[in-house]
């Protein structure tokens, strides 16, 4: 089959690799009909996530048709159309029983690596470094889905792939980011980052009853999309100080909740940015935590900081004094996918939200390397790249 393999920083290639096989009794093999490049894949592309090996297949947003089942998968049939969640969960451990699916105890074969870096290991993930399992990813024509009795959700035939594909990650991730804000009547939610997760966080915060959503970014088409989703926007290229603007917009109260939908590759021009960038380039640090610092400063007293943005390792210069003295609550984690997929599918079916609005490009899988570059550099108004594993590339 064809699959997108990682070979190093800014070096991804589509290659012919063997087809996946059933390896364990709860496995399924999926023929992928649609897959996507996630903003978090760009952290891999840029070489900021440790423990990738050259030759790893990337991709954790995918859907398709079941073509083969292990003997212990009873809830699916060959031919079922499914969306696969990016977190892998066993359904039997203490954490799965608490609905903390992304913290599953049993699905990371390399838990010891994560334990040495984080103390305890989160669940296995597709195509996201060996620290989180080293599972082959879904930017391919086929994928092996472990614990297929727990993860994949069946979707009805009448609804197109592009409307349900993002149930695999970014829609539930944006939703959980907003849910973590514990939104009350009259709340102002400020969201840093208007990439795909930010867009879903904006729409989710609205659906969850936020009075106002304020979105912060510097890319005009992303800010426009945020406005279409119901947000007021701040273009950080047009203001001196985001914190002052937010303070003025809330009559000195501050935002009740702040969402960091940016993560470890924040951009900017300030002195702290130059400091973080230098450390990251020297590989002293994997993270540029500028947004994390800003959300802690911007949130109101007793407010909530919600972090769906991905961080990889250790960060410094976090305003711990502000965090402690203002009594801030921080909520984070990889998304507990299995909590959200079914209710959010229902919202899509009811027409409350159309996730396909974030798609700017649909490319054949063979053009995925171009898609990565375009998405990373925000060229050609790129907000989200969806890949078709079976389309043939147009002659260049």
């Amino acid at each position: 089959m064809k699959a997108l393999c990682w070979y190093g920083k800014e070096d991804v290639r589509v290659e012919n690799v063997p087809d996946p096989k059933i390896l364990n009794p709860h496995d399924a093999i999926i023929r992928i009909t649609r897959t996507a490049i996630c903003g978090s894949d760009l952290h891999l592309y840029d070489g900021y996530i440790p423990t990738l090996e050259a030759g790893d297949i990337l991709g954790h947003e995918f859907m398709g048709e079941v073509v083969e089942l292990g003997p212990e998968v009873k809830n699916l049939k060959v031919g079922d159309r499914v969306v696969v969640p990016f977190t892998i969960a066993c359904g039997k451990c203490f954490f799965c029983e608490q609905q903390l699916w992304s913290l599953c105890d049993n699905t990371n074969p390399n838990a010891w690596i994560a334990e040495s870096l984080m103390g305890y290991s989160p669940s296995g993930l597709y195509g996201y470094s060996h620290m989180t399992g080293g599972y082959a990813g879904g930017q391919a024509q086929y994928a092996r889905v472990p614990f297929a009795n727990i993860g994949p959700i069946k979707v009805p035939d009448g609804i197109p792939d592009d409307k349900v594909l993002f149930l695999s990650d970014i829609f539930p991730t944006g939703w959980m980011a907003a849910e973590n804000c514990n939104i009350h009547q009259g709340d102002v939610v400020a969201i840093w980052g208007c990439g795909p997760v930010g867009q879903f966080a904006i729409r989710s915060a609205k659906l969850l009853g936020a009075e106002r959503v304020i979105a912060i970014d510097m890319v005009p088409e992303r800010l426009r999309l945020a406005e279409e989703g119901g947000a007021e926007v701040i273009n950080r290229h047009e203001v001196d100080n985001v914190l002052t603007v937010l303070r003025d917009m809330t009559a000195n109260r501050g935002a009740d909740s702040c969402i960091d939908a940016v993560g470890l590759e924040a951009s900017g021009h300030s002195l702290p940015y130059v400091y973080d960038d230098l450390k990251q380039k020297m590989r002293v640090s994997f993270d540029r935590p500028q947004v994390l610092r800003e959300v802690i400063m911007a949130v109101r007293k007793g407010g909530t900081v919600s972090v769906p943005g991905v961080y990889g390792g250790f960060v410094d210069k976090i305003p711990m004094g502000a965090y402690m003295n203002k009594g801030v609550t921080m909520r984070t984690g990889q998304t507990h996918m299995m909590r959200y997929m079914k209710p959010l599918l229902e919202r899509i079916e009811q027409g409350q939200i159309d996730p396909s609005v974030v798609i700017s490009h649909v490319l054949p899988l063979e053009e995925a390397p171009r898609g990565y570059k375009m998405f990373r550099d925000k060229q050609d108004h790129c907000t989200k790249v969806v890949l078709d594993p079976w389309a043939t590339a147009k002659a260049a």
Partner: protein, 254 residues
């Protein structure tokens, strides 16, 4: 703390152990040969030889002793289920990576086979010397070639959170000091190994399978990564024929 911990064997059988100077010499020769190869595999040999020599020199400064390894893991099943699973000793190779097979001889005795250093096959007969229903099992082997003993304890975790399983193994490294040096060289710190075995036990009893990626597709691997996979092969137990809950239930029933 536990009422069944074993006396450390005070008797030290040095007759079949390769002398430490042998490891030191062998390791040094390996290192020099490796360096002379001037290649990736040569570098690996050199490193291995150096570590072996270093290990033996470290050992030389200590009083020799048995290897004792112990680890605990919480599993999300009641003590009764964990005890029953473990009492069927023939289940053990399904989650203990160094074991090849366990065959029951009678109610107390069983025949064990394992892979030792350098894929050496070791066999011994073990006897269950103590057990309390749903609480502990203690076994011992007085085999001349591989004297060893082990125990496993099951305690109900507070707040109905499953069972705390503590396993302990004590043995004389089969090839003496060289065996020990090799065991450590290849990343098999004994306590780490037993910890990973318990993790596999947890995965198997909770879900019916051990998570793996061995055998999945990937693109071309670099020489260094291939060397890494050769030096540190994934030895986690592979699923037996017709794995899964059913097998587990059968295992419980037997």
């Amino acid at each position: 703390m536990n009422n069944y911990s074993h006396e450390r064997s005070s008797q030290r059988n040095g007759s079949h152990a390769i002398p430490r100077w042998g490891a030191l010499l062998g390791g040094s020769v390996l290192a020099v040969y490796g360096i002379s190869r001037r290649s990736a595999s040569g570098a690996a040999l050199a490193a291995a030889g150096g570590l072996l020599a270093l290990g033996s020199s470290r050992l030389a400064s200590h009083h020799p002793s048995d290897i004792h390894a112990e680890a605990s893991f919480t599993v999300n099943v009641p003590p009764e289920e964990a005890f029953r699973f473990w009492m069927n000793l023939e289940n053990l190779p399904n989650f203990m990576s160094h074991l090849q097979s366990v065959r029951k001889i009678d109610d107390r005795r069983s025949e064990w086979a394992a892979r030792g250093p350098m894929q050496l096959r070791i066999k011994w007969t073990a006897e269950i010397v103590d057990r309390r229903e749903n609480e502990w099992i203690v076994w011992r082997s007085d085999s001349m070639s591989f004297p060893n003993s082990g125990s496993v304890q099951f305690r109900r975790a507070p707040g109905n959170r499953g069972t705390e399983v503590t396993a302990a193994l004590q043995y004389q490294p089969p090839a003496g000091a060289v065996g020990k040096a090799f065991a450590q060289l290849f990343g098999k710190d004994p306590s780490q190994a037993i910890y990973e075995d318990l993790r596999h036990f947890k995965q198997l009893i909770e879900t019916g399978e051990i998570a793996t990626t061995v055998g999945q597709p990937h693109g071309r691997r670099s020489k260094i990564i291939r060397l890494g996979h050769t030096l540190f092969p994934d030895v986690r137990p592979r699923p037996v024929e017709s794995v899964g809950r059913k097998t587990l239930e059968e295992a419980h029933a037997s």
